[in-house]
């Protein structure tokens, strides 16, 4: 028996996560993401590799989405509504609640701003979400008679989950993105000890070891504080979901402690809407936030003021969260154009910026940025890059692997050189076979199989209530060393009892486990029957 892993996306790269795993004949798609940095057909996973005929219903048992980021979710509507997959889709409650917001925002940006032909429309999103079955953490979900799945808390973003899948005796975990240390608004990833044949883990920061998050947070807060106390404006270009809430909790807390009165604005309606969801889903946040509920819901921000366009040109300091992230267009670009020429402006980049975006160029701190041949922006502002990320670092990855001790590891969602070095480390320090397949490659690993046997009561009794003399050899009561005192040690006997007629095929062989004392009785009984 084997587990086959087909990598459709995020193989030796970050973007369009999509892995199809075949466990004992059950095929599960983990994540159905899109690549944000690519605009042609390569932005979606190559679904034809699952089924060349396009009949996905008969070859896929289900889709599991780990969290609401577009690189894990973006291709889902395309796959269900355009490619026509009609099977069940599983995601956690927060992911199901927030996914439509993400998809709708993406669709709008694509069709309205870039004037692209629509890949899917709002109705498609609604139709797709109807097929989604929401799950809670640690619930054992029976997808069908053989396939069982279970979600575990992953940190990273609200509702992010690692998924455990089990078919027969074969078990595996797909992590999605996760964080092994708690942050401002989310807890750390949590999983049970499991008997895994395969672990598929992200490896974004496969070679980085980060120091204390609090020091990094302090750097950010100090930079913001310095800027606003000098009367400057702070621009935080970020998407309205996830990161915005985390940073806002951080700032709101800090504002309270330092008694600051500088206004904080959220540009997008999306964020406000998102906060409504966050308030209901507070059980999915960090312990600290859960504990402070219901006296104060951390997502009722005290220092956030109502945003109007006039604040862009209003004098005096302020902090503005503007979407989209990476300053790739929209309001964040507009504000950037306006504020960048001033020395007392601070641009805080909270996350990874894809090559080609203004955010990415800005990281090299150039004096001028050329947007197009007619537009140049003088960059005199300060730039702060946030050094904390909702991904686990390499220590976290190693800790998780050590904890789960799977028989095999597959790395996805990372850059190739980092994967290679992480793979080496896993194989040498833990001796676990590790793979880092590229997109469209398949990795096959063997899986555990068991044969079932019927154990007699006498045998179980002997095993469960060992003779006190066995105590000294503890769990090794059955090992060879004690074979000499045969009378005390329960020995195992497996009896392969063929069916009464010899012609009966091998399939009907039943295994029976009895205690050695019973063997003679068994043989004797058979004899008398003859």
């Amino acid at each position: 028996m084997a587990i086959e892993t087909l990598i459709l996306g995020a193989g030796q790269e970050v973007g369009k996560s999509c892995v199809v795993v075949n466990i004992n004949g059950k095929r599960i798609m983990f994540d159905c993401g899109m690549h944000m940095g690519v605009l042609d057909h390569r932005r979606y996973p190559n679904f034809s590799l699952i089924s060349p005929t396009g009949d996905f219903d008969s070859v896929l048992s289900c889709i599991i989405i780990t969290h609401f980021h577009l690189d894990h979710l973006g291709a889902l509507v395309y796959f269900t509504e355009v490619c026509g997959f009609r099977g069940p889709i599983y995601m956690t409650y927060p992911t199901k609640a927030l996914a439509p917001l993400m998809l709708e925002d993406y669709r709008r940006v694509m069709s309205e701003r870039r004037g692209e032909e629509e890949q899917f429309n709002s109705d498609h999103i609604a139709e797709c979400m109807k097929k989604v079955i929401a799950v809670d953490l640690r619930q054992t979900i029976q997808v069908d008679g053989d396939l069982q799945i279970r979600a575990y808390y992953a940190g990273h973003v609200l509702g992010a989950a690692m998924f455990h899948a089990k078919v027969g005796d074969s078990e595996m975990v797909y992590t999605g993105d996760y964080n092994m240390t708690p942050d401002r608004h989310l807890g750390a990833a949590q999983i049970n000890r499991l008997q895994l044949d395969l672990l598929i883990t992200e490896s974004t920061y496969g070679t980085t070891i980060r120091d204390s998050k609090y020091a990094r947070e302090k750097e950010f807060l100090d930079a913001v504080h310095k800027c606003v106390s000098a009367g400057g404006k702070v621009l935080i270009p970020t998407f309205g979901l996830g990161r915005a809430q985390e940073l806002c909790i951080l700032l709101d807390d800090y504002w309270e402690r330092m008694n600051l009165k500088v206004p904080i604005y959220f540009s997008a309606g999306l964020t406000k809407q998102a906060n409504v969801y966050y308030k209901m889903l507070i059980n999915w946040t960090s312990q600290r936030i859960k504990d402070s509920y219901p006296t104060h819901n951390a997502f009722d921000f005290k220092n956030v003021c109502k945003y109007e366009r006039s604040v862009l040109d209003a004098p005096g300091p302020c902090v503005l969260f503007a979407s989209p992230g990476m300053i790739s267009g929209g309001l964040s670009l507009e504000v950037f154009k306006r504020w960048a020429p001033f020395e007392n402006t601070l641009v805080a980049l909270p996350g990874y910026c894809l090559p080609g975006t203004v955010g990415n160029i800005l990281m090299s701190k150039p004096p001028k940025i050329e947007l197009d041949p007619n537009t140049q922006i003088d960059v005199r502002c300060q730039v702060h890059q946030l050094a904390f990320s909702p991904h686990t670092d390499s220590k976290g990855i190693m800790d998780l692997i050590k904890f789960l001790s799977p028989k095999h590891v597959v790395l996805v969602h990372g850059e190739k050189p980092k994967m290679v070095s992480l793979k080496e480390k896993i194989q040498t320090t833990m001796g676990i076979p590790c793979y880092h397949p590229a997109n469209n490659e398949t990795v096959s690993v063997p899986s555990t199989g068991y044969v079932k046997a019927q154990a007699s009561d006498a045998f179980m009794e002997r095993c469960l209530k060992p003779n006190f003399k066995l105590h000294k050899c503890s769990s090794e009561e059955l090992s060879i060393k004690t074979l000499s005192d045969k009378n005390i040690v329960p020995e195992l006997q497996v009896i392969n009892e063929k069916a009464a007629l010899v012609i009966v095929e091998d399939k009907s062989k039943k295994l029976k486990v009895v205690h050695s004392d019973e063997v003679l009785v068994l043989l004797g009984e058979k004899k008398t029957e003859d």
Binding site: V276, A453, L492, V494, A499, L523, K526
Partner: protein, 578 residues
């Protein structure tokens, strides 16, 4: 609420049992227990601190003075129950109790001691309420408590997960109190019996009937119209809180009705835990019905009360001593408050104050003996409306449900034996249980054991042709995990014992035979040939036999029975290395 007595147990010295409950049951239970303690605290404040452990009235001479009806309630029929009364727990007891509970999600697997996997499945009755599955190596047991097919707030009744168990303990005792209109329904189901195949019949009975659903809605609508009428007449409405789900539904329906009638009437919720409770309900979307969950996905608060609180249409007060309440109490209002028994909490004071107001209305829900409950408030001129909402499966659905669940053994309360018949063709075995008696359920012999497939295919088998069995001797460890047994084979031992190489040492074997006085000759075959038999041994004296020694076993062919066993013993001794 099946959790309210728990602190009485957990505060006992030496109590150490593991406690499982769903997250929401534990949290809601905690809130209700806190409320109980706070209401009880008020009583204690009024009557002064107790000198002894027990209050005055429990003394024998005082008990004698109690009216006989009450005395029977307190003492029980034979006077034995007085000793069972104990002082209420304290806040510290509640805290300690809640900390000990292992909180679960629906369908989460909790493993007790490696051998028992425990799972909770929604019973549809209230948020967090559940039925249990206990899965052990000897079989699967289901515990079915009060469940509801019509749940407007809580996650729907997940009866599918209780299907096909080895034993099912039926424990929904609400069935007894809802026997009124069941006679004719029973007849109907009998008629249906022959026309439909059993399973579809059962499903029709479970699903097809929305009559109960609409009945419950009608009851709600009636209560709302009575409330509006009462308010219009210048009276106030008092609703003691009993079932949480009903309270929430009433709260929403009544406020809708008030909005529709364009009146402005304040709604009060008076309880020490009301604020926490209402806030908590808005953060548990995972535990709610499908309709409620849709609100989450639409980005709306889960319950109307969030908006109503914001709009100041409902007011939450921790206790009755609030100016906010009394300042406006001369005008009509609606109040929800504990305790449904009318013996504790704000409702006692409110009734004392308003019982002589003929315009006002008291709505009692699920009260077994209203006459007795209202006794302390006599004479009483305020109107009283009594209602019952379903709090269980309902007698009509019991049999179809049990037919669908198909347990191998059904354990059913003796009290209901006369209400339901169990035709033997549909039920394998039915045991009737009574309080205080142990029922024994037989279970299958032996336990299932898992052996890793790869070594299992390489076992060295001793075949006993005549008995048609093969034996293999193994050493290993028995592991118990998640209620399943697994055999971890000792690999080193196998190698050192030469078991993997199943071909016996020929020299040794022949030597052994010589020792036993057996004359044997070896016929070698080419190892690379197609044949599965590496060698064949012929014995002539004193017995004639052929031994085919293969990689997976040895076949002894002989005319006499005792010869085979003789040869086998010799072979076995060589294999064991003796």
């Amino acid at each position: 609420m099946g959790i309210l007595g728990l602190p009485l147990l957990t505060r006992m010295k030496g109590f150490s049992a593991k406690i499982y409950a769903t997250e929401v049951s534990a949290r809601l239970g905690e809130l209700v227990m806190r409320d109980l303690v706070s209401m009880h605290g008020e009583l204690k404040q009024f009557y002064g601190p107790m000198v002894a452990d027990f209050p005055e009235w429990m003394r024998k001479e005082e008990v004698e003075k109690i009216p006989s009806a009450l005395r029977e309630i307190i003492l029980g029929k034979d006077g034995a129950e007085l000793g069972g009364l104990m002082p209420l727990y304290s806040e510290a007891d509640v805290n300690d109790c809640v900390l000990r509970i292992q909180k679960l999600k629906y369908a989460e697997e909790a493993c007790y001691n490696g051998t028992l996997v425990i799972k909770a499945f929604s019973s549809g009755l209230e948020m967090g309420s559940c039925n249990w599955i206990l899965d052990g190596p000897k079989g699967v047991i289901a515990y079915l408590s009060n469940s509801s097919f019509i749940s407007s707030q809580a996650t729907a009744f997940d009866y599918q997960s209780l299907q096909g168990t080895d034993a099912l303990l039926y424990s929904d005792f609400s069935t007894l109190s809802s026997t009124e209109d069941d006679e004719d329904e029973e007849n109907q189901s009998v008629q249906l019996d022959d026309k439909l195949p059993p399973s579809s019949h059962a499903l029709v009975q479970l699903y097809g009937n929305t009559k109960e659903d609409s009945e419950e809605m009608e009851k709600l609508a009636f209560i709302c119209s009575c409330t509006i009428e009462c308010i219009k007449g210048g009276g106030s409405v008092f609703i003691p809180i009993n079932q949480l789900g009903i309270f929430l539904q009433l709260l929403e329906e009544v406020s809708k009705a008030i909005d529709a009638s364009a009146m402005k009437v304040p709604i009060y919720i008076i309880s020490s835990v009301a604020e926490d409770l209402l806030a908590y309900l808005n953060i548990v979307p995972e535990w709610l019905s499908r309709q409620r969950q849709e609100r989450l996905f639409d980005g709306e608060p889960l319950f109307d009360h969030v908006k109503l609180l914001e709009d100041k249409k409902i007011h939450v007060l921790p206790n009755i001593h609030s100016d906010k309440f009394w300042m406006h109490s001369h005008e009509p209002f609606i109040v929800f408050c504990p305790h449904w028994s009318l013996r504790l909490g704000p409702i006692v004071h409110l009734l004392q104050h308003w019982r002589k107001d003929s315009k006002s209305l008291l709505i009692l829900e699920g009260m077994v003996d209203p006459q007795l409950a209202l006794l302390p408030f006599k004479p009483m001129v305020m109107k009283v409306l009594q209602c019952h909402f379903q709090s269980g499966i309902g007698l009509r659905r019991v049999r179809p449900l049990l037919e669908t669940l198909q347990p191998k053994t059904l354990l059913f309360p003796e009290e209901f034996r006369s209400h339901i018949s169990f035709p033997s063709k549909k039920f394998h075995s039915v045991l009737f249980y009574t309080e205080g008696e142990t029922s024994k359920v037989s279970c299958k012999d032996g336990s299932e054991l898992k052996i890793p497939a790869t070594p299992a295919s390489n076992f060295y088998w001793n075949t006993f042709k005549e008995q048609e069995i093969s034996l293999a001797k193994l050493n290993g460890e028995l592991v118990v995990e998640n209620g399943r047994y697994r055999l971890l084979l000792d690999n080193n031992e196998k190698n050192s014992n030469g078991r993997t190489n199943s071909v016996p040492n020929l020299e040794k074997l022949l030597a052994t035979f010589t020792n036993l006085g057996i004359n044997a000759s070896v016929e070698h075959q080419k190892m690379n040939s197609e044949s599965q038999i590496p060698c064949v041994i012929h014995t002539q004296e004193p017995y004639k036999a052929v031994m085919e020694i293969g990689t997976s076993g040895v076949v002894i062919t002989t005319a006499a029975e005792n010869v085979a066993s003789h040869l086998y013993k010799a072979l076995d001794s060589v294999l064991k290395g003796n």
